[in-house]
Symmetry: C2
Subunit: 305 residues, 2 copies
């Protein structure tokens, strides 16, 4: 196995341990359960899910490294007739119990394509990933904190990274059929390939730095809002908004649809769906309410830092 794949495999395993440990510590009640699985055709993963915690109603922090012949839908997507691949990554979604704490999603991945089954003749390779925040109630300082942490990571690697990946995030996590963002954004990057100015090693450093910043971006927000009181109507609103989260993941998210079409492990893919969800007909928050204020920001993405 190439050096970069080895390093990245170790990296995602360590990052999963670190993130799960920190989440369990804050939760204080419930621990992750672990499922190790193998993929027909090559590779496998380690799915970790926490449910019915004190702070976290449902969350998954998954890693997988899979390889083999390209599934047909991917051959079609890349317009190739044959080919082999290796894909490794960490993917997480955390749905807190309290509507005052935002849901968060992050993903860090490496993908390589080969001419041969032995994976010795690489024809393409790239990094991708990002992190985005989905609040149910808006605290501007929380959105600013989340963006600031990732801006700092970006700025270490390239001046244009933050504005570019922030914009891509707003564009990607967009419920087009509702005309609103899934949340208040963050970073989204993909197809980060070696070129004249940057090596694979450079992209490795950027992607892994972003992953390492995840806990710093999210945990202070959890801690800040953990004692915030809320009432049943606010919980109800969270469940309505979780419906929008489901709509995005099932209608628009390339990662989810890709997984479903390539016979991925269904339960690991759909662990991203929230635990309890509502769809009311034509639910509209009152004018001038905090709920309406959130919608306003989702319809008009802001510059947070």
């Amino acid at each position: 196995m190439s050096e970069i794949k080895k390093k990245f495999t170790d990296y995602i395993r360590d990052l999963q341990d670190e993130i799960c440990g920190a989440i369990e510590k804050i939760d204080g009640k419930t621990r992750f359960r672990e499922d190790n699985w193998n993929r027909d055709g090559g590779g496998g993963g380690r799915t970790r899910v926490i449910e019915n915690g004190r702070v976290f109603e449902k969350g998954g922090v998954n890693i997988s490294t899979v390889y083999g012949e390209l599934p047909d839908p991917i051959k079609k997507h890349f317009d190739v007739e044959y080919g082999w691949f290796w894909a490794g990554g960490l993917s997480l979604v955390i749905h807190p119990e309290s509507p005052m704490i935002p849901t968060v999603h992050a993903n860090f991945r490496f993908f390589e394509l080969y001419e041969d089954e032995e994976m010795t003749r690489s024809v393409d390779a790239w990094f991708g990933g990002g992190a985005d925040l989905t609040p149910y109630y808006l605290w501007e300082e929380d959105a600013e904190h989340f963006h600031r942490v990732f801006k700092e990571v970006c700025d270490l690697h390239g001046d244009d990274f933050y504005p570019k990946f922030k914009k891509q995030c707003d564009e990607y996590f967009h419920n087009a059929h509702r005309g609103e963002g899934r949340g208040i954004g963050g970073l989204f990057f993909d197809y980060l390939r070696a070129d004249d100015t940057r090596s694979s090693e450079d992209w490795y450093r950027f992607t892994t730095d972003a992953g390492k910043a995840f806990l710093k971006s999210y945990l202070p927000i959890v801690e800040k809002r953990i004692a915030e009181p809320y009432n049943p109507a606010q919980k109800y609103w969270q469940e309505i908004r979780r419906g929008r989260y489901v709509e995005f993941n099932l209608i628009h998210d390339r990662g989810t649809l890709f997984g479903l079409k390539t016979n991925g492990r269904i339960e690991s893919i759909l662990m991203s769906l929230p635990p309890q969800v509502r769809w009311d007909y034509d639910f509209n928050p009152g004018e001038g309410s905090r709920e309406a204020e959130l919608i306003e920001v989702l319809k008009n993405p802001r510059e947070w830092v």
Copy 2:
């Protein structure tokens, strides 16, 4: 407007009134609310939704007649560069409160394509529709009743109709990513066009007869199960299964995706989504349980009549 469009428009309006009246009568507590809406570009609809009833937790019975220039995604789908259309139909989904009463869906529609904006030069026209049942607990006699009613309608119009449209229903309402049917099927038909053996008038009669049979297919099942007791674990199971319903509608259903891509009225399209839904990680009913018995039938569609 052509004779067949006029007749079909009257038909769906009357059928909506009849179905809503019967549903309200059984519910006994709550009435449908009505939203009349207009479509930019031509036409509109009458959406009727019932929520938080005694028997029905959420349901919609909608009609619409829309027309105008073909939206771009449909032009692409039909591989034409210009064209106008007229589409009219009734669509309903009923989600009962009790997990002992099945969810039901039905749809009856007419679609016509034209060379000209004035809709005088028709180039194609067809009927489509069907009805299917989604139980949370299986009573074989209920599945048999539902299928028998629609088989009787089919048999009046063509010997091969029931086997063909029953099979198409099993194939269409299939959660491929789970390897299971959405429910226990019913009828699904589409592109019923005039040809050497049958006129548009024949297909009109078949489609409208199927629509007229809807209440007879569903109400006796509601009445039979309305007093069936259930416990919180069974309600929980219903909410888990409703998650599969959402997965089908958002990932696979052509009607839903078509509506979302052609700027349909979002709230009328997504009224089909169940009111309260759960996604637990890797939820598996106990072996030999009634819940497992349902899954078994969903994985292996049966002949019911």
